[in-house]
Protein backbone atom coordinates (compact mmCIF):
# COMPACT_ATOMS: atom_id res chain seq x y z
CA UNK A 1 0.00 0.00 0.00
CA UNK A 2 2.84 2.38 0.85
CA UNK A 3 5.25 1.37 -1.86
CA UNK A 4 4.61 4.45 -3.97
CA UNK A 5 4.83 7.01 -1.14
CA UNK A 6 8.03 5.43 0.08
CA UNK A 7 9.44 5.49 -3.42
CA UNK A 8 8.58 9.20 -3.43
CA UNK A 9 10.43 9.72 -0.16
CA UNK A 10 13.31 7.73 -1.49
CA UNK A 11 13.45 9.94 -4.57
CA UNK A 12 13.50 13.06 -2.45
CA UNK A 13 15.77 11.77 0.27
CA UNK A 14 18.35 9.87 -1.77
CA UNK A 15 19.69 12.78 -3.85
CA UNK A 16 19.65 14.94 -0.75
CA UNK A 17 21.73 12.42 1.18
CA UNK A 18 23.96 11.98 -1.82
CA UNK A 19 24.62 15.72 -2.07
CA UNK A 20 25.23 15.90 1.65
CA UNK A 21 27.66 12.98 1.36
CA UNK A 22 29.49 14.63 -1.52
CA UNK A 23 29.79 17.83 0.49
CA UNK A 24 31.12 15.79 3.40
CA UNK A 25 33.69 14.05 1.21
CA UNK A 26 34.76 17.32 -0.36
CA UNK A 27 34.92 18.88 3.05
CA UNK A 28 36.87 15.93 4.45
CA UNK A 29 39.43 16.18 1.70
CA UNK A 30 39.72 19.91 1.80
CA UNK A 31 39.62 20.51 5.49
CA UNK A 32 43.33 19.99 6.26
CA UNK A 33 44.23 22.69 3.77
CA UNK A 34 41.73 25.23 5.06
CA UNK A 35 42.68 28.15 7.13
CA UNK A 36 40.75 27.41 10.36
CA UNK A 37 38.99 30.78 10.79
CA UNK A 38 39.05 32.92 7.66
CA UNK A 39 38.63 30.10 5.12
CA UNK A 40 35.66 28.45 6.86
CA UNK A 41 33.09 31.19 6.27
CA UNK A 42 32.47 30.67 2.52
CA UNK A 43 32.16 26.90 3.10
CA UNK A 44 29.76 27.49 5.91
CA UNK A 45 27.73 29.99 3.89
CA UNK A 46 27.41 27.54 0.96
CA UNK A 47 26.46 24.76 3.27
CA UNK A 48 23.82 26.90 5.01
CA UNK A 49 22.47 27.96 1.65
CA UNK A 50 22.29 24.34 0.45
CA UNK A 51 20.60 23.23 3.67
CA UNK A 52 18.01 26.04 3.51
CA UNK A 53 17.28 25.22 -0.13
CA UNK A 54 16.85 21.51 0.56
CA UNK A 55 14.63 22.18 3.57
CA UNK A 56 12.53 24.60 1.54
CA UNK A 57 12.10 22.00 -1.22
CA UNK A 58 11.08 19.37 1.29
CA UNK A 59 8.59 21.79 2.86
CA UNK A 60 7.20 22.60 -0.55
CA UNK A 61 6.82 18.90 -1.36
CA UNK A 62 5.10 18.36 2.00
CA UNK A 63 2.65 21.18 1.38
CA UNK A 64 1.84 20.04 -2.14
CA UNK A 65 1.37 16.49 -1.01
CA UNK A 66 -0.82 17.53 1.90
CA UNK A 67 -3.01 19.78 -0.26
CA UNK A 68 -3.42 17.10 -2.92
CA UNK A 69 -4.27 14.42 -0.37
CA UNK A 70 -6.71 16.77 1.39
CA UNK A 71 -8.54 17.38 -1.88
CA UNK A 72 -8.62 13.70 -2.77
CA UNK A 73 -9.75 12.85 0.74
CA UNK A 74 -12.57 15.39 0.72
CA UNK A 75 -13.76 14.04 -2.62
CA UNK A 76 -13.67 10.48 -1.34
CA UNK A 77 -15.53 11.46 1.83
CA UNK A 78 -18.22 13.06 -0.33
CA UNK A 79 -18.40 9.99 -2.59
CA UNK A 80 -18.62 7.76 0.45
CA UNK A 81 -21.47 9.85 1.88
CA UNK A 82 -23.38 9.53 -1.39
CA UNK A 83 -22.69 5.80 -1.52
CA UNK A 84 -23.99 5.50 2.04
CA UNK A 85 -27.24 7.11 0.91
CA UNK A 86 -27.46 4.77 -2.10
CA UNK A 87 -26.82 1.55 -0.21
CA UNK A 88 -28.73 2.73 2.86
CA UNK A 89 -26.12 2.45 5.57
CA UNK A 90 -26.66 5.71 7.36
CA UNK A 91 -29.51 6.71 9.69
CA UNK A 92 -32.34 8.37 7.78
CA UNK A 93 -31.27 6.96 4.45
CA UNK A 94 -33.88 5.58 2.05
CA UNK A 95 -32.53 2.05 2.65
CA UNK A 96 -31.63 1.91 -1.01
CA UNK A 97 -35.08 0.69 -2.09
CA UNK A 98 -36.51 1.86 -5.40
CA UNK A 99 -39.71 3.84 -4.58
CA UNK A 100 -41.32 2.35 -7.69
CA UNK A 101 -41.13 -1.05 -6.04
CA UNK A 102 -43.21 0.21 -3.11
CA UNK A 103 -45.82 1.72 -5.49
CA UNK A 104 -46.06 -1.48 -7.51
CA UNK A 105 -46.27 -3.59 -4.37
CA UNK A 106 -49.16 -1.39 -3.20
CA UNK A 107 -50.91 -1.82 -6.57
CA UNK A 108 -50.38 -5.56 -6.31
CA UNK A 109 -51.97 -5.70 -2.87
CA UNK A 110 -54.97 -3.60 -3.96
CA UNK A 111 -55.56 -5.77 -7.04
CA UNK A 112 -55.48 -8.86 -4.85
CA UNK A 113 -58.09 -7.26 -2.57
CA UNK A 114 -60.16 -6.49 -5.68
CA UNK A 115 -60.06 -10.18 -6.62
CA UNK A 116 -61.31 -11.05 -3.14
CA UNK A 117 -64.13 -8.49 -3.57
CA UNK A 118 -65.13 -10.17 -6.85
CA UNK A 119 -65.34 -13.53 -5.15
CA UNK A 120 -67.46 -11.95 -2.39
CA UNK A 121 -69.86 -10.53 -5.00
CA UNK A 122 -70.26 -13.96 -6.65
CA UNK A 123 -70.95 -15.60 -3.29
CA UNK A 124 -73.54 -12.93 -2.37
CA UNK A 125 -75.33 -13.30 -5.73
CA UNK A 126 -75.43 -17.11 -5.38
CA UNK A 127 -77.07 -16.69 -1.98
CA UNK A 128 -79.74 -14.36 -3.46
CA UNK A 129 -80.42 -16.85 -6.26
CA UNK A 130 -80.85 -19.63 -3.71
CA UNK A 131 -83.39 -17.48 -1.83
CA UNK A 132 -85.37 -16.80 -5.01
CA UNK A 133 -85.39 -20.52 -5.85
CA UNK A 134 -86.83 -21.15 -2.37
CA UNK A 135 -89.64 -18.72 -3.25
CA UNK A 136 -90.36 -20.81 -6.34
CA UNK A 137 -90.70 -23.92 -4.19
CA UNK A 138 -93.08 -22.05 -1.86
CA UNK A 139 -95.20 -21.04 -4.90
CA UNK A 140 -95.42 -24.68 -5.98
CA UNK A 141 -96.65 -25.59 -2.49
CA UNK A 142 -99.32 -22.86 -2.65
CA UNK A 143 -100.51 -24.16 -6.05
CA UNK A 144 -100.89 -27.62 -4.57
CA UNK A 145 -102.90 -26.17 -1.67
CA UNK A 146 -105.18 -24.30 -4.16
CA UNK A 147 -105.74 -27.59 -5.97
CA UNK A 148 -106.68 -29.19 -2.65
CA UNK A 149 -109.23 -26.39 -2.01
CA UNK A 150 -110.84 -26.94 -5.46
CA UNK A 151 -110.94 -30.69 -4.93
CA UNK A 152 -112.60 -30.25 -1.50
CA UNK A 153 -115.15 -27.83 -3.06
CA UNK A 154 -116.06 -30.38 -5.75
CA UNK A 155 -116.51 -33.13 -3.20
CA UNK A 156 -118.60 -30.82 -1.00
CA UNK A 157 -120.74 -29.91 -4.04
CA UNK A 158 -121.38 -33.60 -4.76
CA UNK A 159 -122.23 -34.09 -1.11
CA UNK A 160 -124.71 -31.18 -1.18
CA UNK A 161 -126.39 -32.61 -4.33
CA UNK A 162 -126.81 -35.94 -2.59
CA UNK A 163 -128.20 -34.14 0.48
CA UNK A 164 -130.72 -32.25 -1.71
CA UNK A 165 -131.86 -35.55 -3.29
CA UNK A 166 -132.30 -37.12 0.11
CA UNK A 167 -134.20 -34.05 1.35
CA UNK A 168 -136.58 -34.27 -1.64
CA UNK A 169 -137.28 -37.90 -0.80
CA UNK A 170 -138.11 -36.94 2.75
CA UNK A 171 -140.90 -34.64 1.52
CA UNK A 172 -142.24 -31.93 3.81
CA UNK A 173 -140.05 -33.05 6.70
CA UNK A 174 -136.98 -32.66 4.54
CA UNK A 175 -137.72 -29.15 3.39
CA UNK A 176 -135.47 -27.48 5.98
CA UNK A 177 -132.68 -29.89 5.21
CA UNK A 178 -133.04 -29.08 1.49
CA UNK A 179 -132.49 -25.39 2.32
CA UNK A 180 -129.30 -26.32 4.23
CA UNK A 181 -128.14 -28.55 1.37
CA UNK A 182 -128.71 -25.68 -1.06
CA UNK A 183 -126.62 -23.33 1.07
CA UNK A 184 -123.87 -25.93 1.34
CA UNK A 185 -123.93 -26.30 -2.45
CA UNK A 186 -123.74 -22.56 -2.92
CA UNK A 187 -120.81 -22.34 -0.46
CA UNK A 188 -119.03 -25.24 -2.15
CA UNK A 189 -119.49 -23.55 -5.50
CA UNK A 190 -118.05 -20.31 -4.11
CA UNK A 191 -115.21 -22.29 -2.46
CA UNK A 192 -114.48 -23.92 -5.76
CA UNK A 193 -114.41 -20.51 -7.46
CA UNK A 194 -112.14 -19.15 -4.73
CA UNK A 195 -109.90 -22.22 -5.06
CA UNK A 196 -109.65 -21.68 -8.82
CA UNK A 197 -108.86 -17.96 -8.36
CA UNK A 198 -106.20 -18.84 -5.76
CA UNK A 199 -104.84 -21.47 -8.13
CA UNK A 200 -104.76 -18.90 -10.94
CA UNK A 201 -103.03 -16.33 -8.79
CA UNK A 202 -100.54 -18.88 -7.47
CA UNK A 203 -99.87 -20.12 -11.03
CA UNK A 204 -99.30 -16.53 -12.15
CA UNK A 205 -97.02 -15.94 -9.12
CA UNK A 206 -95.21 -19.19 -9.78
CA UNK A 207 -94.71 -18.29 -13.45
CA UNK A 208 -93.40 -14.86 -12.44
CA UNK A 209 -91.03 -16.41 -9.88
CA UNK A 210 -89.90 -18.98 -12.46
CA UNK A 211 -89.21 -16.22 -14.95
CA UNK A 212 -87.36 -14.25 -12.26
CA UNK A 213 -85.32 -17.33 -11.34
CA UNK A 214 -84.53 -17.91 -15.00
CA UNK A 215 -83.49 -14.31 -15.48
CA UNK A 216 -81.45 -14.41 -12.27
CA UNK A 217 -79.72 -17.60 -13.42
CA UNK A 218 -78.90 -16.12 -16.79
CA UNK A 219 -77.68 -12.93 -15.13
CA UNK A 220 -75.68 -15.01 -12.67
CA UNK A 221 -74.11 -16.96 -15.50
CA UNK A 222 -73.26 -13.73 -17.31
CA UNK A 223 -71.95 -12.23 -14.06
CA UNK A 224 -69.89 -15.33 -13.41
CA UNK A 225 -68.35 -15.14 -16.87
CA UNK A 226 -67.65 -11.42 -16.38
CA UNK A 227 -66.18 -11.98 -12.91
CA UNK A 228 -64.05 -14.89 -14.14
CA UNK A 229 -62.84 -12.79 -17.06
CA UNK A 230 -62.08 -9.91 -14.67
CA UNK A 231 -60.31 -12.28 -12.33
CA UNK A 232 -58.23 -13.58 -15.20
CA UNK A 233 -57.36 -10.03 -16.28
CA UNK A 234 -56.57 -8.96 -12.74
CA UNK A 235 -54.50 -12.12 -12.23
CA UNK A 236 -52.54 -11.35 -15.39
CA UNK A 237 -51.97 -7.77 -14.20
CA UNK A 238 -50.97 -9.03 -10.75
CA UNK A 239 -48.55 -11.50 -12.33
CA UNK A 240 -47.09 -8.74 -14.51
CA UNK A 241 -46.79 -6.44 -11.50
CA UNK A 242 -45.22 -9.28 -9.49
CA UNK A 243 -42.73 -9.87 -12.28
CA UNK A 244 -41.89 -6.19 -12.56
CA UNK A 245 -41.58 -5.85 -8.79
CA UNK A 246 -39.31 -8.88 -8.72
CA UNK A 247 -37.13 -7.49 -11.49
CA UNK A 248 -36.93 -4.08 -9.81
CA UNK A 249 -36.06 -5.66 -6.48
CA UNK A 250 -33.41 -7.83 -8.12
CA UNK A 251 -31.99 -4.80 -9.91
CA UNK A 252 -32.07 -2.79 -6.69
CA UNK A 253 -30.27 -5.62 -4.88
CA UNK A 254 -27.66 -5.80 -7.63
CA UNK A 255 -27.19 -2.04 -7.51
CA UNK A 256 -26.87 -2.19 -3.73
CA UNK A 257 -24.27 -4.95 -3.96
CA UNK A 258 -22.41 -2.99 -6.59
CA UNK A 259 -22.61 0.11 -4.39
CA UNK A 260 -21.26 -1.85 -1.43
CA UNK A 261 -18.33 -3.11 -3.52
CA UNK A 262 -17.52 0.44 -4.68
CA UNK A 263 -17.94 1.67 -1.11
CA UNK A 264 -15.48 -0.94 0.15
CA UNK A 265 -12.97 0.10 -2.48
CA UNK A 266 -13.41 3.78 -1.59
CA UNK A 267 -12.98 2.95 2.10
CA UNK A 268 -9.77 1.08 1.26
CA UNK A 269 -8.56 4.04 -0.80
CA UNK A 270 -9.36 6.43 2.05
CA UNK A 271 -7.52 4.15 4.43
CA UNK A 272 -4.55 4.05 2.06
CA UNK A 273 -4.43 7.86 2.10
CA UNK A 274 -3.01 7.61 5.62
CA UNK A 275 0.33 7.27 3.85
CA UNK A 276 0.33 11.08 3.65
CA UNK A 277 0.58 11.33 7.43
CA UNK A 278 3.51 8.94 7.52
CA UNK A 279 5.20 10.69 4.60
CA UNK A 280 4.67 14.03 6.36
CA UNK A 281 6.31 12.74 9.54
CA UNK A 282 9.19 11.20 7.61
CA UNK A 283 9.78 14.47 5.73
CA UNK A 284 9.46 16.44 8.98
CA UNK A 285 12.23 14.33 10.46
CA UNK A 286 14.26 14.79 7.29
CA UNK A 287 13.96 18.60 7.55
CA UNK A 288 14.94 18.55 11.20
CA UNK A 289 17.81 16.23 10.38
CA UNK A 290 19.02 18.53 7.58
CA UNK A 291 18.93 21.56 9.89
CA UNK A 292 20.72 19.70 12.68
CA UNK A 293 23.28 18.22 10.30
CA UNK A 294 23.93 21.61 8.75
CA UNK A 295 24.43 23.22 12.15
CA UNK A 296 26.63 20.39 13.34
CA UNK A 297 28.57 20.49 10.12
CA UNK A 298 29.08 24.25 10.41
CA UNK A 299 30.28 23.84 13.97
CA UNK A 300 32.73 21.13 12.93
CA UNK A 301 33.87 23.25 10.00
CA UNK A 302 34.57 26.15 12.30
CA UNK A 303 36.61 23.84 14.51
CA UNK A 304 38.49 22.42 11.51
CA UNK A 305 37.63 18.74 12.14
CA UNK A 306 35.08 16.21 10.96
CA UNK A 307 31.99 15.58 13.13
CA UNK A 308 32.23 12.66 15.49
CA UNK A 309 30.94 9.57 13.59
CA UNK A 310 28.79 8.27 16.43
CA UNK A 311 27.25 11.65 17.20
CA UNK A 312 26.74 12.21 13.49
CA UNK A 313 24.82 8.95 13.14
CA UNK A 314 22.74 9.74 16.22
CA UNK A 315 21.97 13.16 14.79
CA UNK A 316 20.79 11.71 11.48
CA UNK A 317 18.52 9.16 13.14
CA UNK A 318 17.15 11.49 15.82
CA UNK A 319 13.37 11.73 15.64
CA UNK A 320 12.71 8.49 13.78
CA UNK A 321 9.14 7.43 14.50
CA UNK A 322 8.31 4.86 11.85
CA UNK A 323 9.83 1.50 11.25
CA UNK A 324 10.24 2.45 7.58
CA UNK A 325 12.75 5.13 8.66
CA UNK A 326 14.67 2.60 10.70
CA UNK A 327 14.51 0.08 7.85
CA UNK A 328 15.81 2.64 5.35
CA UNK A 329 18.58 3.69 7.73
CA UNK A 330 19.48 0.03 8.29
CA UNK A 331 19.75 -0.43 4.53
CA UNK A 332 16.91 -2.96 4.19
CA UNK A 333 15.19 -0.64 1.69
CA UNK A 334 11.84 1.16 1.62
CA UNK A 335 9.95 -1.52 -0.33
CA UNK A 336 10.41 -4.06 2.45
CA UNK A 337 9.43 -1.47 5.02
CA UNK A 338 5.82 -1.15 3.84
CA UNK A 339 3.21 -2.39 6.29
CA UNK A 340 -0.57 -2.85 6.21
CA UNK A 341 -3.06 -1.00 8.40
CA UNK A 342 -2.79 -1.97 12.05
CA UNK A 343 -5.47 -4.31 13.32
CA UNK A 344 -4.17 -4.62 16.85
CA UNK A 345 -4.58 -2.39 19.84
CA UNK A 346 -2.43 -2.59 22.93
CA UNK A 347 -4.54 -1.86 25.99
CA UNK A 348 -2.76 -0.62 29.11
Amino acid sequence: MFDKPLTLIHRIAAPTAQRLGHALLRWSGAAPTLAPADGADPWQARLDEAARTWVAHVESAQQQLQQAVEQVLQSFVQILGELDAVVGETPGATDGADPRVAVLASCDARLRRLLQDFEGIVRSRDETLATVETLSNVANGLRDMAEDVSRLARQTNLLSINAAIEAARAGASGRGFAVVAGEVRRLSTESGETGRRIGGQVAQFSDTVSQAVGQARRAADADTRTVRASEATVSEVVAMVDGTVGQLQQRAAEQRESGLRVKLQVEQLIEALQFQDRVHQILDQLRQSMRSASASFAEALAQGRAPDAERWQALLSAGYTTHEQRAVAAGTGPARAAQPASTETEFF
Binding site: M1, Q66, D84, Q274, Q276, D277, R278, T321, A341, F348
Partner: protein
Amino acid sequence: MAKTILIVDDSSSLRTLVRMALTRAGYEVLEAGDGLEALQALDRAARVHLVVCDVNMPRLDGIGFVTQLKQHPRHRFVPVVMLTTEDQGSTRERGRQAGAKAWMVKPFNPPQLLDTVSKLVLA
Protein backbone atom coordinates in the same frame (compact mmCIF):
# COMPACT_ATOMS: atom_id res chain seq x y z
CA MET B 1 -27.47 11.20 23.11
CA ALA B 2 -24.34 10.92 20.99
CA LYS B 3 -21.03 10.63 22.83
CA THR B 4 -18.32 13.18 22.16
CA ILE B 5 -14.79 12.25 21.14
CA LEU B 6 -11.88 14.68 20.87
CA ILE B 7 -9.42 14.01 18.03
CA VAL B 8 -5.96 15.50 18.53
CA ASP B 9 -3.61 15.33 15.53
CA ASP B 10 -1.53 17.88 13.65
CA SER B 11 -2.41 16.24 10.34
CA SER B 12 -5.73 17.56 9.09
CA SER B 13 -6.09 14.65 6.68
CA LEU B 14 -5.66 12.17 9.51
CA ARG B 15 -8.24 14.10 11.57
CA THR B 16 -10.59 13.88 8.60
CA LEU B 17 -10.11 10.10 8.38
CA VAL B 18 -10.69 9.57 12.10
CA ARG B 19 -13.62 11.99 12.14
CA MET B 20 -15.23 10.17 9.23
CA ALA B 21 -14.88 6.79 10.93
CA LEU B 22 -16.30 8.08 14.22
CA THR B 23 -19.17 10.19 12.87
CA ARG B 24 -20.31 7.31 10.67
CA ALA B 25 -20.52 5.24 13.85
CA GLY B 26 -22.71 7.90 15.51
CA TYR B 27 -20.17 9.78 17.65
CA GLU B 28 -19.89 13.55 17.84
CA VAL B 29 -16.39 14.82 17.21
CA LEU B 30 -14.24 17.73 18.38
CA GLU B 31 -10.87 18.42 16.75
CA ALA B 32 -7.57 19.94 17.84
CA GLY B 33 -4.28 20.37 15.93
CA ASP B 34 -1.95 19.87 18.91
CA GLY B 35 -1.89 19.33 22.68
CA LEU B 36 -2.44 22.98 23.58
CA GLU B 37 -5.44 23.29 21.29
CA ALA B 38 -6.77 20.08 22.81
CA LEU B 39 -6.54 21.47 26.35
CA GLN B 40 -8.35 24.61 25.23
CA ALA B 41 -11.04 22.49 23.55
CA LEU B 42 -11.49 20.52 26.78
CA ASP B 43 -11.89 23.75 28.77
CA ARG B 44 -14.72 24.76 26.43
CA ALA B 45 -16.39 21.34 26.20
CA ALA B 46 -19.14 20.39 28.63
CA ARG B 47 -18.46 16.67 28.34
CA VAL B 48 -15.92 14.58 26.43
CA HIS B 49 -16.20 10.79 26.56
CA LEU B 50 -12.84 9.84 25.00
CA VAL B 51 -9.75 11.34 23.36
CA VAL B 52 -7.93 9.94 20.31
CA CYS B 53 -4.47 11.50 20.32
CA ASP B 54 -1.34 11.55 18.15
CA VAL B 55 2.10 11.58 19.79
CA ASN B 56 4.33 13.75 17.59
CA MET B 57 2.80 17.21 17.37
CA PRO B 58 4.12 20.78 17.54
CA ARG B 59 3.92 22.98 20.67
CA LEU B 60 2.62 20.27 23.03
CA ASP B 61 3.01 16.62 22.01
CA GLY B 62 0.66 13.76 22.83
CA ILE B 63 2.53 12.49 25.90
CA GLY B 64 2.65 16.02 27.35
CA PHE B 65 -1.02 16.50 26.64
CA VAL B 66 -2.01 13.27 28.41
CA THR B 67 0.14 14.24 31.39
CA GLN B 68 -1.68 17.57 31.68
CA LEU B 69 -5.07 16.00 30.98
CA LYS B 70 -4.65 13.73 34.01
CA GLN B 71 -4.47 16.88 36.17
CA HIS B 72 -7.47 18.55 34.55
CA PRO B 73 -10.17 19.40 37.13
CA ARG B 74 -13.09 18.17 35.00
CA HIS B 75 -11.67 15.79 32.40
CA ARG B 76 -8.93 13.88 34.23
CA PHE B 77 -10.87 10.58 33.97
CA VAL B 78 -11.43 10.81 30.22
CA PRO B 79 -9.74 7.78 28.58
CA VAL B 80 -7.11 8.42 25.90
CA VAL B 81 -6.30 6.23 22.89
CA MET B 82 -2.90 7.04 21.39
CA LEU B 83 -2.97 6.79 17.58
CA THR B 84 0.53 7.31 16.24
CA THR B 85 3.23 6.21 13.85
CA GLU B 86 5.42 5.59 16.90
CA ASP B 87 5.96 1.88 17.30
CA GLN B 88 8.88 1.90 19.73
CA GLY B 89 8.29 0.10 23.02
CA SER B 90 9.97 2.87 25.01
CA THR B 91 7.56 5.49 23.64
CA ARG B 92 4.59 3.25 24.38
CA GLU B 93 5.81 2.91 27.94
CA ARG B 94 5.99 6.71 28.27
CA GLY B 95 2.42 6.88 27.01
CA ARG B 96 1.26 4.26 29.47
CA GLN B 97 2.98 6.02 32.36
CA ALA B 98 1.42 9.35 31.33
CA GLY B 99 -2.02 7.75 31.63
CA ALA B 100 -3.06 6.61 28.12
CA LYS B 101 -5.40 3.61 28.02
CA ALA B 102 -4.55 2.14 24.61
CA TRP B 103 -1.96 2.36 21.84
CA MET B 104 -2.66 2.01 18.13
CA VAL B 105 -0.09 2.34 15.37
CA LYS B 106 -0.89 4.17 12.14
CA PRO B 107 -1.94 3.38 9.49
CA PHE B 108 -5.07 2.41 11.39
CA ASN B 109 -7.91 0.16 10.42
CA PRO B 110 -11.25 2.01 11.00
CA PRO B 111 -13.16 -1.03 12.36
CA GLN B 112 -10.30 -1.67 14.79
CA LEU B 113 -10.37 1.96 15.91
CA LEU B 114 -14.14 1.77 16.45
CA ASP B 115 -13.75 -1.45 18.42
CA THR B 116 -11.10 0.15 20.63
CA VAL B 117 -13.20 3.29 21.13
CA SER B 118 -16.32 1.29 22.02
CA LYS B 119 -14.38 -0.63 24.68
CA LEU B 120 -13.03 2.49 26.37
CA VAL B 121 -15.58 5.27 25.82
CA LEU B 122 -17.13 6.54 29.04
CA ALA B 123 -20.72 5.54 29.74
